[in-house]
């Protein structure tokens, strides 16, 4: 049984949990799923076993401490420690998949909005000129930033698990850490990197095509993995 079927089954079964057990279990689920580099199949199998066990305890009116102990986070760490790692090749493919999707979506929307502004409202230019050197530097640094942001988003989400954190505080922290800081870095990057290298000029609509190609590459990798 593959992991997608297990996930779908898990989503259905979870509805049977009462509120307290559900909160606890979903923290456990998120925390374990966020442990990157671990086999997804094995993760979903153990999550299903824990859910089945929890449902039996609930039916018998027993305490959840029977299953996760007094410190659920420590229990989750023990589980993660014993989960096998995913094959490195598969991991690499997932990283490239993410990268292509990111490049695809950002290039597509860049072209899309530019085209609307130009052809619809006569704003901006009908073509965009790029300095290849600058473009390369900005792309590489952006990719680096995306990796750092994704890494810390995962760290943050794991940190929030098993805590009852105030929603307003959570929202504020998320906005500053993952919205404002990376966004300002991107802006700074565009202004600060000087023009260098040869130039190429492309019509703005072609950016949508380039974006589409990146997206297709990402999908190809997604199907393979």
């Amino acid at each position: 049984m593959n992991s997608n079927i297990l996930i779908a089954e898990n989503n259905e079964k979870r509805k049977l949990l009462d509120d307290d057990n559900k909160k606890l279990y979903e923290d456990m689920l998120l925390y374990i799923r966020l442990s990157y580099g671990k086999s997804q199949q094995e993760s979903e199998e153990i999550l299903m076993e824990l859910l089945d066990h929890l449902l039996i305890l609930q039916r018998e009116g027993k305490d959840t401490a029977e299953l996760f102990g007094e410190d659920p986070k420590r229990y989750a760490d023990q589980i993660i420690e014993e989960l096998p790692k995913t094959l490195t090749k598969k991991r690499m493919m997932l990283i490239f998949m993410g990268l292509f999707y990111f490049l695809g979506v950002s290039t597509f929307f860049n072209g899309f909005f530019h085209s609307i502004l130009y052809y619809g409202f006569g704003k901006l230019e009908g073509s965009e000129t790029y300095y290849l050197g600058t473009l390369t530097v900005i792309s590489l640094v952006s990719i680096g930033i995306v990796f750092v942001v994704v890494y810390y988003v995962i760290r943050y989400l794991k940190w929030v698990c098993f805590k009852r954190i105030n929603k307003v505080v959570d929202f504020g922290l998320t906005a500053v850490l993952f919205g404002i800081i990376p966004f300002s870095t991107f802006l700074a990057l565009f202004y600060l990197v000087p023009d260098m290298g040869t130039t190429i000029t492309v019509p703005v609509y072609s950016l949508m095509i380039i974006g589409g190609i990146f997206f297709a590459l990402g999908t190809l990798l997604f199907k393979k993995s």
Partner: protein, 110 residues
């Protein structure tokens, strides 16, 4: 880690292998069988051990339809698992008698 939990860790692995060698079981069933034997561990503590035994290829899990109700993951022993169980039994037997003897002697001295 307390002495008790250190002692239990290795022994628990051996007991789990012994139970699975008799018949294939799923997680909850295994926890019940351990408790039925009077081995008092929290029910959750078996899952990290099951994962480790799987990683070491001593047992293997298979999702199977149970006669009543949902699909469950049933565990069976591998050839390596049977070997490991045999060596656990050997080690346990060679320890059991001397340790028992030692502990009773102590009681008599007191």
């Amino acid at each position: 880690m307390s002495v008790r939990s250190q002692l239990l860790k290795g022994i628990l692995e051996g007991c789990i292998l012994a139970i699975i060698s008799k018949e294939s079981v799923y997680g909850y069933e295994l926890a019940m069988k351990l408790q039925g034997q009077g081995i008092d561990v929290s029910e959750g503590s078996i899952y990290p051990i099951l994962l480790r035994l799987q990683k070491d290829k001593l047992i293997q899990g298979e999702m199977r339809k149970s006669p009543s109700g949902p699909n469950r993951k049933y565990y069976t022993l591998t050839a390596k698992g049977y070997e490991s169980l045999a060596s656990f039994k050997k080690n346990w037997n060679s320890l059991k008698v001397p340790v028992d003897q030692l502990l009773t002697e102590e009681e008599e001295v007191e």
